[in-house]
Every structure is written in C-alpha cells, then in structure tokens.
C-alpha cells in the first residue's frame, strides 16, 4: 500500500509517455484479443463436435440408397445409421439463401440439441421445424408460424418447389452451429419426394461405438464402395470441421503469429520505456535506498510501474476486442464461419502475457538498480 502514491507519482510525472504507452499496449492487446478470440472460436467449433459421428456423402451424384444405409449399419464399430438431406433454396427473397437440414432418427443424430420430447414431436408433426434464435430472427419467424422454403433442385411428388414447415420451437443457439441452425424431419422429406426418389438418400450419418476408430470407419466405408456403382465419400465430422480452418488460410497459424508479433512489439516499447524511466530517476531510487528501502522493494516498485499501464492497456484492449469480435465474421469471410470467443483461456493468456511483458521489461532496469552505487549517485558523480 505504501508504494501506491509512489507508483502514481511516477506514472503521472511524464503524462504523455504514460498515455502513449497505455495506448500502444491497448492497440497490441486489441489485436491479440481479436486474433486469439478468432482462433478460440474456431477451436471451440471443432472441439464441440461429437467425435462418434461419421458422415457418408455420395461421391458423384445424389444416389445413395436405403440399402447402403443398412449395409453400413452392419459394419463393425457402427452403432446406428440415419439418413440426412438438405432442403435448400430461399425464404421469401430469392437473393437470401435459406434451408433446413432434414434429419433422421434420434439414435443417428446425437449431435443435435434436441430432447427426447422434441424428437417425439416430429412423429405427430413431420412438417415441424426447430430453428435456432439466430435463424428465426434472420427469417423473421416465431413459434407456431408457417413458412415456405423454395428449393428448385429437390423434386417433390406434387411437382411444386415450395416446402412448407411450421416452427415447432425456437431453441437457443449453440457453438456447434455458429451460424444458427434449422432442422426438419427426414420422414417429411422422404414422403414428399417422387416415388422413384424415395429410396435415395442425401447422405448418411453413422454413429460409431468407439470414437477413436471414427476415421478408420470412414475409410472402411469408402473402401467398401470404392469399386461399386455408387462410390462414397466418408469422413468423421470432426476431421471435416477441422479442415474448414485450413482450407483457405490456416486460421490457427495466422492468428497466433500475428498476436505474437503484436506482443513482441509492445514488449520492445515497454522495456525501452522502463529502462529510460529508471535511468532518469536514478537519484530518486538512490534516495529511496538511503532511507531504508531494500533492493527488492525498489525493484518491486519499478515492476508495479511497468505492470500498471500493461494491465490497464490489456483490459482496455480485450474490451475493444470483445466489441470488435462480434463483427469479425462479417469482416473476414475468408475465415470459416465461427463465433469469435474471448474464452477464459484467451483472457488467462492475456494476463500471463501482461505479467511476462512487465517482468521482461523490468529485468535490465532491475539489474541496474541492484548494482546502484548510492553514494556515487547522491554525490552526483555519475
């Protein structure tokens, strides 16, 4: 406590310098926050994925058959198989793409945020849809509303292109689907298709017993159909999600590298600032030592001086980053869709970075203070 007035006095002595240091630390931590939050948001999107899910797409045309689903269900390590399909087109405005994922049964879709009761509702209301808050807000619909999705590519038995749904419930968004979600029932999809198309499936989702073998199961499924009339393209959902982050730019590599460069720059600046500040105030420190401050006491004082603007700047920077982070998905279409996430880990990393920054920038001045020749300085001989 007794140090506080001293620290305050030191910081306010050169106000411009303190403000500039504070601002540059803020800029660096804004960059750090935005970059690491983007990285964390993406990592979370991969982490939340159910490791037991393997998806099988047709390699060339939409022609997977119900029979293949049964064959895959019979493979070792496969616990359940369920079909899926997309109804994809637009809602109201042809320029605004919209669609639903039509999902099979509960056993094959453990990755959906639906309760038993919600799954059961589909038995009575096959044309029902579950939307996330984000999606419902985008489309401007609420529970109980009917809406039409116009899909010009998926044939219907009645020859029309409009798929009519009723919103059963609007559910909370989850990090699993950062852009929002909309689910319909596969049963409704199948029954609405022309008779000839009914045995054809969009894709299969298999749930494996041992999640460590998910990728092997995907490879086994493809090998089974490689030389058949309907070759497949299978992959574990986790690998598929992970790929999105490296397809165009390697998100993790770019974001972490940029964050590191920003911190390094600020380290240089604060280290220089502290060295200069100590050099200018050697006389003051000599007096402190003379009146009984220990070496470590003086060093702690300098450390606190470095720490104060660093902590304040980091807090301001992370705050700004949190404000900016929400806008990143719009600003950076290169990055895969993910909600930037200032996770506790990112905040902890920032805090560690602040400590490290203050520590590293104080090392050299501290050594100088320890070797301080009090008598010589007070006599004005240096």
């Amino acid at each position: 406590m007794k140090y506080l007035p001293l620290i305050w006095a030191a910081l306010t002595r050169r106000k411009l310098r303190t403000v500039l240091t504070l601002l540059s630390v803020t800029a660096a931590f804004t960059l750090f926050g935005v970059m690491m939050a983007t990285d964390a948001g993406f990592q979370r999107m991969v982490e939340v994925v159910n490791r037991s899910v393997v998806v099988t797409f047709p390699r060339f045309a939409d022609n997977l058959t119900d029979g293949m689903g049964q064959q895959i269900a019979g493979m070792s390590n496969v616990a359940a198989v369920s079909p899926g399909a997309n109804v994809f087109g637009y809602y109201r405005d042809p320029k605004v793409q919209a669609g639903l994922m039509m999902v099979g049964d509960e056993a094959g879709w453990p990755n959906l945020p639906l309760s038993h009761a919600q799954w059961a509702q589909w038995r009575n209301r096959p044309d029902g849809a579950y939307l996330s808050r984000k999606t419902a807000a985008q489309w401007g619909v609420k529970k109980g509303d009917y809406f039409n999705i116009v899909d010009n590519h998926t044939a219907r038995a009645d020859g029309k292109h409009a798929w009519r749904f009723q919103v059963l419930e609007v559910l909370d968004d989850t990090p699993y689907w950062p852009g929002g979600f909309s689910f319909g029932s596969y049963q409704y999809y199948k029954m609405s298709r022309p008779a000839a198309d009914q045995p054809k499936d969009g894709w299969f989702q298999a749930v494996v017993k041992d999640s460590a073998g998910a990728e092997d199961t995907a490879i086994a499924i493809d090998a089974r159909y490689a030389n058949s009339a309907i070759p497949t393209d299978s992959i574990s959902e986790r690998t598929m999600r992970g790929d999105a982050g490296t397809a165009i730019v390697n998100v993790a590599a770019v974001t972490r590298r940029v964050a590191a460069v920003g911190l390094f720059m600020i380290l240089l600046l604060t280290a220089h600032g502290m060295a200069q500040s100590v050099r200018e105030r050697l006389g003051e420190f000599a007096v402190l030592k003379t009146i009984g401050y220990s070496d470590w006491g003086v060093i702690a004082l300098v450390f606190a001086e470095a720490l104060a603007p660093a902590i304040l700047g980091a807090a301001l920077g992370l705050g700004l980053a949190a404000l900016l982070a929400g806008r990143i998905p719009n600003l950076l279409p290169t990055l895969p869709l993910s909600d930037p996430y200032l996770s506790p880990a990112v905040i902890a990393q920032a805090f560690l970075a602040v400590l490290l920054l203050a520590f590293l920038s104080v090392i050299l001045p501290a050594l100088r203070l320890k070797r301080l020749d009090v008598a010589a300085i007070l006599a004005g001989r240096t």
Binding site: L16, A27, M35, F60, D222, G242, I248, L269
Partner: protein, 389 residues
C-alpha cells in the same frame, strides 16, 4: 537557401547524436520492421495465389463459357454447340485446316489431404485431342500420356504433394471404378499443375455427363477475339460469352484478394497503430532529452522550422530503416516458399510492388510519428531549454 542549409545542418546534427540514442532508435526500427514483415507475409499469400491463377491464362487464347457461368466448371455446352463454336471465325487453324479449339470438362473429385488427412477437392480437367496443341507449356515429366478411350489419367506435378492417392501408380475413384494415374505433367507453374487431366471423350460417359463445361481456343491474329465474339454472341443457337483466357483467370483470381483484404489491412492498421504510438513516444523522449541541445541550436540562430524538420526527418529515416529490415526479413523467409491454399499449391511472393506498399506504410508511420515531437521541438522555449541541463 539559408533555410535549406540550416535544415541540412540540423538534420546532420540530429543524426550525429543518433548513436547516443541507439537503443530507442532500434526499438522504433524493429517495431516498424515487425509491421512491414507481418503485412508482407500476409499479402504474400494472396499475391502468390493470384499469380498462380494468372499464369494459367494466355492472351493468345480465349475461353468460351455458357453466358450464365462464372467459373469454367459452372455451366454446360452441348456437343452441337461446341461444333458451332469450333466453326466460328477468329480461331487459329492447324496445317490441316482444323480449328485449334478444345472443349473441356471440369469435374471436382474428393480426395484426402496429405497434411490433415481431411477432405480436399481436386479438379479433373478433361482435354480433347486439341488440348495439347493449345497448350505448348504442357509437358509430361514422368510416366506417359494417357491413351484416349482407356480409363486412365495423368496428374499435375504439384498435386501428389497435397493429396493422397493421386501419385503416379495410384488409382483414383471414378463413378465406374478405379482409374490408374499413368503420368505426371508440368505446365507453367500455374494452377493446372495442381489438377488431374484425362481424355474428355472417355470421362464424359464415365461421369454420365452429356455436355462440356467450357471451350478453350487459340485466337487467330490480332482481331481474332473480336471476330470470334461477334460470331458466337450473335448466333441465336448459342448463349455464351467469350473472354480472353488471361482476362478470365485474372478475374477469377481476384476472389482471393477480396477475401483476404479485410484481414490483411485490418491487422496492418492495428499493428501500425502500435508502432506509431511507439515512434511518437520515443521521438518525443528524444526531443525532451535533447532540450538543451535544441535550445542551443535555436540560440545560435537555427529556425524553429529547421529544428522541427530535423526531428521529422529522423522519424522518416528510422521508418525507412525499419521498412528495409522488415521487407528483407519477409523476402528472406517467405518469397518462393511453397504453400497450399484452396486446394492449389503455389509459391508465396514478396513482389517489388508489395515492398513499395510496405515502404509507404512504414513512411506513413514515421511521418505521423514524427509530427507531434517535431512540433514540440519547434515550440520549445529557448530559455527553458538552456536552463534544463
């Protein structure tokens, strides 16, 4: 003239004292180098990827796409339409009088990525007999050419490094079974070198397709493009558009710069802001430390303007040094390094234009960083300054 000479003298004095302020100066230089190196390293990806696309285009060739298609894989052109286009004027002809025009089919095949084991997409580009005559840059470097009619294909030299199961001797899953890869080809270090190539008349039935996706032609003479465009766009049997092939790839490659610009310049601005504040801080400290010296100069008759200019010039020179350092680091670390993005292998490029941009960025930081301290130096009261020591 006197002003100029006093400025020069002030600058000289300033720089002479720089060696006593080596560490602060280095902080500014290294800080700005960080900004420039980061900016260039990020830009090198966009520019490298664009370059690889642009190399695939030649101004002597034209590509004909269905009118609604943006990309060469987007639409369909029937055999009959292809024949009409082949007969159009403006297309170069070989010794036997046949048009040097080749209908192509682009298909996307799913393959496994070598780096992550995940899904990648490789393009299967199918040529007809004229495909090679159109492309003098195309050459087989290992194995042999595919035989039309046989279920086999060849692979671009960059593809096996990115994808599993597409190397010489591997088999690729096609709708009617497994096709062996019998040869490796190289082109002009362009994007085709990351693709597979097979015979179009063999691929079409195998893929259960009935149409081509584009036609590439060699243009005849200087007005070939105009002749061809007029002929095919006024023909009511066709609904197509003609683009010079170099223009087409230039247009298509623009998507990458659009995608990355926000990221690159956003980071460049934030990092630049950090460096700018550092420069202001340090130059200002330098002015404060040299109060006595500056006051002496003023007392000797140097004008406020020349003293201020000297400080600003110092900022610019430090920025210049930082830019040179940063650009050298970026060039040394990144230029020519192989990289994979968007299923295409390419080499990162740190071009002179990018270095100029980095230089401009750095000088802007130096200039802005020098203004406030320079202003401060100019307004320093002489009497106070002389008393400061």
């Amino acid at each position: 003239m006197i002003f100029l000479r006093s400025c020069l003298a002030a600058i000289q004095l300033n720089l002479a004292s720089l060696k006593h302020r080596l560490w602060p100066a280095l902080v500014v230089v290294v800080g700005i180098a960080c900004v420039v190196a980061t900016l260039l390293s990020m830009l090198s990806m966009t520019v490298g990827l664009r370059h690889t696309w642009q190399r695939a285009g030649s101004p002597g060739r034209a590509i004909i796409l269905p009118a609604t298609a943006q990309d060469e894989g987007d639409g369909t052109l029937s055999r009959a339409q292809a024949q009409i286009i082949k007969d159009a004027p403006g297309i170069a002809r070989d010794a036997k009088g046949r048009a040097i025009a080749d209908p192509e089919i682009i298909n996307g095949l799913v393959v496994r990525r070598r780096d992550t084991g995940g899904r990648g997409f490789i393009r299967l580009r199918s040529f007809g007999p004229e495909g090679l005559a159109l492309r003098p840059e195309f050459r087989i470097v290992a194995g042999r050419m595919y035989q039309p009619g046989k279920h086999e294909m060849i692979v671009g030299a960059e593809a096996p490094g990115q994808f599993l199961g597409v190397g010489l001797g591997d088999t690729v899953t096609m709708p009617d079974g497994l096709w062996p890869v019998v040869g490796v080809f190289k082109t002009n270090d362009d994007l085709v070198q990351s693709q597979l190539v097979a015979d179009s008349d063999t691929v079409m039935p195998a893929m259960r397709q009935t149409a081509y996706t584009s036609i590439t032609v060699r243009l005849a003479g200087a007005n070939g493009l105009a002749l061809l465009t007029r002929a095919v766009t006024t023909n009511p049997a066709l609904s197509v558009k003609v683009e010079r092939q170099s223009d087409y790839f230039n247009r298509r490659s623009a998507q990458f710069s659009n995608l990355n610009d926000a990221l690159v310049y956003g980071v460049g601005v934030l990092l630049g802001l950090g460096a700018l504040l550092a420069a202001v801080n340090i130059l200002h400290s330098a002015v404060m430390a040299r109060r006595c010296e500056i006051a002496t100069l003023r007392a000797l008759g140097f004008g406020a303007g020349s003293v201020a200019l000297a400080v600003a010039v110092e900022g610019l020179l430090l920025a210049l040094a930082g830019a040179v350092l940063g650009a050298s680091v970026a060039y040394g670390l990144f230029n020519g390094v192989q990289h994979i993005s968007n299923n295409t292998a390419f080499h990162l490029i740190v071009s002179p234009a990018m270095i100029a941009l980095g230089l401009g960025w750095a000088l802007a930081i130096g200039l802005l960083g020098g203004v406030l301290p320079a202003f401060h130096a100019a307004r320093l009261a002489v009497a106070d300054g002389l008393r400061a020591s």
